[in-house]
Structure formats: structure tokens, C-alpha cells
Symmetry: C2
Subunit: 438 residues, 2 copies
């Protein structure tokens, strides 16, 4: 009875609370354990890869010593399976003593001493997704304070083993509890992913007020199919999603799998570019100790990062979807610049796509174009027809530096680039390459 | 009427004709244009990539000068879209005069001078798949003679725009016609792919008598999904397919797409390894002028090639299919050796798979194991439990040098390794890494 009254009181105050922690004015960047290391707790047989303080210290060393930190990758984030199966005798969460013998606070110091930040993981239900102790409603204040005491910098708050009503109470409550600790703690909410990710079930205005970022959709897996599935969902629902994003509040399409096992170099560039267009958090989930130079060069691409981190914080949109499998994405950037992304869904050969900036709704004028992945530059009049050769499952990404003169309200309302884009872009090339069998 | 009588006579003799050209005692290796270059005939705008004599000479230069030839990659094969849309005034096929100004014979000489061989493409119907002139029944002898006059070394005979009855006549007829020229010309038949690839519609005994290799299934595309789809089909139907293969007669799961745009390094190793297990023809379809060193090292792996080229010519089989997504393949090799392949269909993280050689039906004894992609060696007793860590969509491939003592007839009849393999391999590791969402 007491708990029920308490919950009701929380419900009244929690939903109107604004998240005023001043954090993540651009999408957060760092490293997150889950996709690559899952719930590997077998430190005896797999000591280099199990979820342990050693793994996070290893990754911190790499971020700090190999120049990742200077690029903006500063968060080192723990996911599920870090804790003991039991709370301590004062009811607090505690890390697994064998795998985190130094404790979380010491780990946080290790990171802070290197200019990095520590993220931790909790779950709104009785149990986490992997059945470790969760943080249900009656534990929220305690656990928020524990995380603050440990000097944690970010919390991913998952939603397994909770229902919609509990989530509606719990996610705002955790926001309030984190704020109440006085420690700035970035707050990642998995809430919308458990509610289908779309209005009216999901209230993105509220989310922007209580969370710094939120997972809208399912977990990424180490495959191109998974990336495509996520990209499809985010851009098919761009009218609902793009207005939600902005400084301090981000849609999160999940981790970067660049440097893992499932993506080709083309596909890796595509994920980096699409995540930049989406103003997505950039959480790498790979082994920074052994990552290839090719994957590194993509994750370290400074122009792609700067597009991702643009101060305006406007999430980009898909503006063209051709029958040929070519799609064009656009994101307005500060200084009246913009990013243009040409993407091919084809699986045959490089496709020569012909268009012009005016066909892509750029206003009259001369533009300077910078190719993000080749460093080539060019000047281009709006009316000039050009050809971009886009590799199968690959991208061509441009930073366009001259004024695009867009109207922000029209953009959000989809009036400029309502999807599907008005058909002013003809297929200029016959499709000779399809339909063959054997 | 005259033609009909002629065809009837051909039908009587053609189907009993054995292909006695002595060619391709091991699976043919080389380069084939289709997957990467398709029907790109736009030499004006895309001169480096269009189907032209320049493209084939470029690839010949690379094969000859970069050490591919010495590894066995000797065929340079033209696919569709090479010819003029019209036959010449004597009714003969002729190459497109703009794209092949020197003619095919000159191109053949260019290759022969470099120790390479030339393959060409025809189609059993009125038109090729891309609507160039085909080689229907009444043109078979003429075109076979034309190819021989041009000193061509291989023919891929496609099946678009022909029906089952025409194919039943035409494929044996072309075999006979090629033999009748007196020039050894390797003969690749697309026939089974047009008939579903399986008995009783497809007669593999007959195919082995008239063709050196045959396409059983659909075209490969530049994607991992496509590779998986092909692998699934070939191993689900291994009971029907493996007995058909042997020296001079090969199942063809289509080209290697390693070095193109759609496969990660793991997936590239997997295609190379699975094609080696399958005793598949190794036709690269990529740009040898710009191929990455990573892709090169896989295509140039001498142990993988030697397994593919094993003199016994026995096509390997899948012997284990675990619920965890781990599969094991096995191929018997000459000198009583064998190849073992561990493959992961997972998309999460490296999987530690525990087994032993005795669980994989090896007889008692001590074996020497050579890791094809890491060059590590080990000695292993049949009873020793070992762990292989298999990356997502990746493989671990072993050459096992000691006697495997298999019974060839039992192998073909699936008695040793009937699929599904008798369940003697327990899942030794709990599946802690699945089912999580957000």
C-alpha cells in the first residue's frame, strides 16, 4: 500500500521533470561492451574477452593511448552482466567480486585519470535481460545514488522484465533520481524500444525532457542485414523520429559494429555515414586491441565525425529513394552547410547515378563539395549534372559547404523533403544489369 | 523438316557421348567477368570497366604478372554481352567491333602468349540472357567451330530463351560439336540450373559424361546472403550432388566474390573455405587491378587452393549442424588426409566450440593438424577434446594429415556422414549470449 501511494506521487511529478543535466549537447561517443562481448562471463577460459574490469581497462588504455579520445570517443560503457547476482547487505547493487575485484568506483577513477568517462547499465525490471538484479521502481533512488557514489558518468537503463505501466513511472523517476544526486550522469533510456518506438505510444517530447538518448528499436547484430533493418526502420519513420532529436536528446539506432566480423569495408563506411546523417550516438563495440587499420580509418574519419557532431544537432532525412536502389540522404549543418549521402542497396556492381544539386532541392548558386571518404574537393553549380559512382552496399558522402537556405520548420514538417520525394529525378541510365540468371 | 530429322539423329547419338577432352581433372581456376562487370557496355563513360578486350587484357596482365597464374588461376573468361547484335554475313557470331576491335582470336593469342587460357560465353536459346545472339540447335556446330577457330579454351553455355526439350538436345550436341573440332575446349553447362538442379529432372550421370562443369543453381550476387543461400542449397542437397563430382566433372556453385564490395574478411575466408570443401571451380570475379591485400591473401592461400585442387576430386560434405549455429564440413583428400571446416552462422561473437576428432568419426590415432588461415600446426589424438573459437560468419579450416580411413562407397551413400549427423556431439557450453533485446 505504501509503495502504491509512493508510486502515484512519483507519477505526478516525474512526467513533468525536464532533464537539465547539460550533457550530450552533441551525440555521445565512446565504446560499449554489449554487441561484441555480450554476456561472456567465462574469465577462466576466455580471460581477454570476458566482462571484467580488465576488459574495460584494456579498452580505456586503447581509447586514451591510441588517439580515440581526442576524436571524441570518451565513454567506456559497461552493459549487462557486470553485477553480482545478489545485492549487498545494505541492498545496494554490487559488481561481481571475481570479475570486478577493484569495484566500480576504482574503475571510474582509472578512466577519469585518463580523461575518459564510465557508463554503467541497469534495468527497469526485477531482473536485467540476462537475469542479473534489476532496478525496479522501489530501487531507483538507491541505485541512482550508488551510481553517483561510484562517480559513474552515464547510465543505460534497459527495460526487460517490466511492463508498460512500470516503465511509464520508472523512466521519469530514474531521470529525477539521477538529477537529485547532483552528479551529471548521461541517461540512456531503452523505454521507446519496448513500446514499438513510435507515437502515440511513445511520447518523444517527454523523452527529450527526461533522457539524453534513447534506444528506439531492436538490438544491432553483427551483420549487414541487421544494419539495413535498422536503417530501414529509422528512415521509414523519419517523420516521427527526426523532430525528437536535438542537443541533449538523441535517437539511438544502437552501436557501431565497424571493426567486428560481419561488415565489408563498403558496409562499414555506410554505417559510419548513415549514423552521421542520423546524428546518432557513436558507441563502438569491437576489440580496440586488434582492430584493423581499415576499420580504424573509417571510425577515425574526422569529417564524418564532425558531421555527426554538428552543433545544430538536426537529425538528417532520406530525400530520394530510387527504383535503381540508390537513395540520397541529407542533413542540414551549422554554417549553412549540409551533408549529402548517396547510398546503394544494389548487390551487383558500382552504379553511376546522375543528378544535380538543384534536383536535390539546393538553391541556385555555386557550392564547394568535400568527399568525406576520399578527401577530394570540387566546386559545383546547382544546375550542373554530375555522376556519382556508388559501390554495392556502399556510400558516397559529401560535405557541402555553401548555403543550402532551408527552412527549419518546413524541414521538420517534411514539406521540403517529404518522403517519397517528388519525382523530379529521372533514372537517366537504362537498367542493363538486372534480371540475368546463369 | 530437314532440321527436325537432323535433331533426332543428334538426340540418338548425343546423349551417349562421353566428354573425353581430358580437361579439368581438378576444378578449373581463373577469372570470370560476370558478377563484377555484368553487361556494362558503356565504354564511353566507363572505359575501365566496360566489357571490352581491354578489360580482359588488363585482367590477363594481372594474372600473369602478379603471380596468380602460378597459383592455378589461368582461365580468363568472357561472359554475356561480348558479341555484336548481328551474326556476320556467313552467319557466324562476331564480337562487338567497337569493344573488341582486335577480335577474339587475337585476344586468345594475347592470353596464350602469357600462359593463360580464354573462355567464351554462348547460350542455348535464340538469344543470350542479355539478348545477344544465342546458339540454338541449328547453330551449334557452326559456333563450336568458330570458337575452335578462334582458339578458345572454354565455353560457358547458358540456357536463357530455351525450353527443356531444346536443352536436352542442345547440351549434348554442343559437347559433341566441341569434341568434333579437335580442339580441347572446357565445357561449362548451365543446363541443371534451368531444371531445378536436382534428380530426377537432372541426370548427373549424363552431365558428367558431356560437361566438365555445370551450374546447378542461381547466380551469385555480391552479398553474404547470396553466399549463404548458395551454401544452404548445395549442402542441403549434398546427397544428390556430391556423387556427381570428380576429376573432369564438377558442380559449380558460381564465382568467388572475394575482393568485391559485399563480404567482410571473415566472410571472404568462409567463401574460399567452403568452395574448397565443395571442390568448386574457383573463378574470381573482381577487379584484380585494385584488389586489397586482405582479399588477395585469401584468394592466394595455397593450402586452401591445394585442398580445392586435391587430385582425388571428391566433393566434401556437411557432417554436423549444431543448434548453436556451428557447422562442420569434411572432405577426404589424397594421401589419406582430409579437410575439416568449422563454420559459424552466428552474428554475435566468437563461439568456442568443443569437440574431438573421434566425435567427428575419425578413427583412433594421432593426427597432425594444419590451420589453413593461421599456419599453426598441432598434433591431436582422436580422443582429445579441443576448443575451436569460430568468429561470426567465419571459419576455422584444418588440413588433417593422418589417415581418416573412410570407405568411399559408404561416403557417397551417406552412411558415414549421413545428414543430419547422428547426435553424438553435445552442446558443451550453455547459450548465455542469446535472446537479449535492448
Amino acid at each position: 500500500m505504501h509503495v502504491a501511494v509512493l508510486l502515484f506521487a512519483f507519477a505526478l511529478t516525474g512526467t513533468t521533470l525536464a532533464l537539465d543535466n547539460g550533457l550530450m549537447r552533441t551525440p555521445p561517443m565512446g565504446w560499449l561492451a554489449w554487441e561484441r562481448y555480450r554476456c561472456d562471463i567465462d574469465c577462466e577460459n576466455d580471460p581477454k574477452n570476458c566482462i571484467s574490469e580488465n576488459l574495460f581497462m584494456d579498452m580505456a588504455d586503447r581509447l586514451a593511448e591510441d588517439g580515440w579520445k581526442e576524436l571524441g570517443y570518451v565513454y567506456v560503457n559497461i552493459d549487462d552482466c557486470w553485477s553480482s547476482k545478489q545485492r549487498d547487505d545494505q541492498g545496494r547493487l554490487q559488481p561481481d567480486p571475481k570479475r570486478f575485484p577493484g569495484g566500480i568506483k576504482k574503475l571510474a577513477h582509472y578512466l577519469h585519470n585518463r580523461g575518459l568517462k564510465l557508463g554503467i547499465y541497469g534495468d527497469m525490471g526485477k531482473l536485467t535481460c540476462m537475469a542479473y538484479p534489476g532496478t525496479p521502481l522501489d530501487k531507483i533512488e538507491l541505485d541512482a545514488q550508488t551510481f553517483a557514489d561510484w562517480e559513474v558518468d552515464m547510465l543505460k537503463y534497459d527495460g526487460c522484465y517490466s511492463n508498460a505501466m512500470e516503465q511509464e513511472l520508472g523512466y521519469p523517476l530514474m531521470s529525477k533520481a539521477l538529477n537529485a544526486t547532483g552528479r551529471p550522469i548521461g541517461y540512456s533510456c531503452s523505454w521507446p524500444a519496448y513500446q514499438g518506438g513510435l507515437p502515440p505510444k511513445v511520447n518523444y517530447t517527454q523523452l527529450g525532457e527526461i533522457c539524453n538518448l534513447w534506444r528506439n528499436y531492436g538490438d544491432i547484430q553483427d551483420s549487414w542485414d541487421s544494419v539495413l533493418n535498422i536503417v530501414d526502420w529509422f528512415f521509414e519513420n523519419q517523420d516521427a523520429l527526426t523532430p525528437a532529436a536535438g542537443p541533449g536528446r538523441w535517437n539511438d539506432p544502437d552501436m557501431l559494429i565497424i571493426g567486428d566480423f560481419g561488415l565489408s569495408m563498403e558496409q562499414s563506411r555506410s554505417q559510419m555515414a548513415l549514423w552521421a546523417i542520423m546524428a546518432a550516438p557513436l558507441f563502438i563495440s569491437n576489440d580496440l586491441r586488434t582492430i584493423s587499420s581499415g576499420a580504424q580509418s573509417i571510425l577515425r574519419n574526422e569529417m564524418a565525425i564532425s558531421i555527426n557532431q554538428d552543433a545544430l544537432g538536426i537529425q538528417g532525412r532520406r530525400i530520394v529513394k530510387e527504383k535503381s536502389g540508390i537513395e540520397v540522404f541529407w542533413r542540414p549543418l551549422s554554417k549553412n552547410a549540409s551533408a549529402l549521402l548517396f547510398f546503394s542497396r544494389r548487390t551487383d556492381m558500382p552504379y553511376r547515378y546522375t543528378t544535380s544539386l538543384s534536383k536535390l532541392s539546393y538553391t541556385a548558386g555555386s557550392y564547394k563539395v568535400f568527399n568525406v571518404f576520399t578527401d577530394e574537393t570540387a566546386s559545383l553549380k546547382d544546375s550542373t549534372e554530375f555522376v556519382v559512382s556508388v559501390n554495392p552496399t556502399g556510400v558516397v558522402m559529401w560535405y557541402v559547404s555553401a548555403p543550402a537556405k532551408f527552412n527549419l520548420r518546413q524541414f521538420y514538417q517534411g514539406e521540403i523533403f517529404r518522403f517519397p520525394f517528388k519525382k523530379i529525378i529521372p533514372s537517366t541510365r537504362k537498367h542493363r544489369n538486372e534480371g540475368k540468371r546463369c
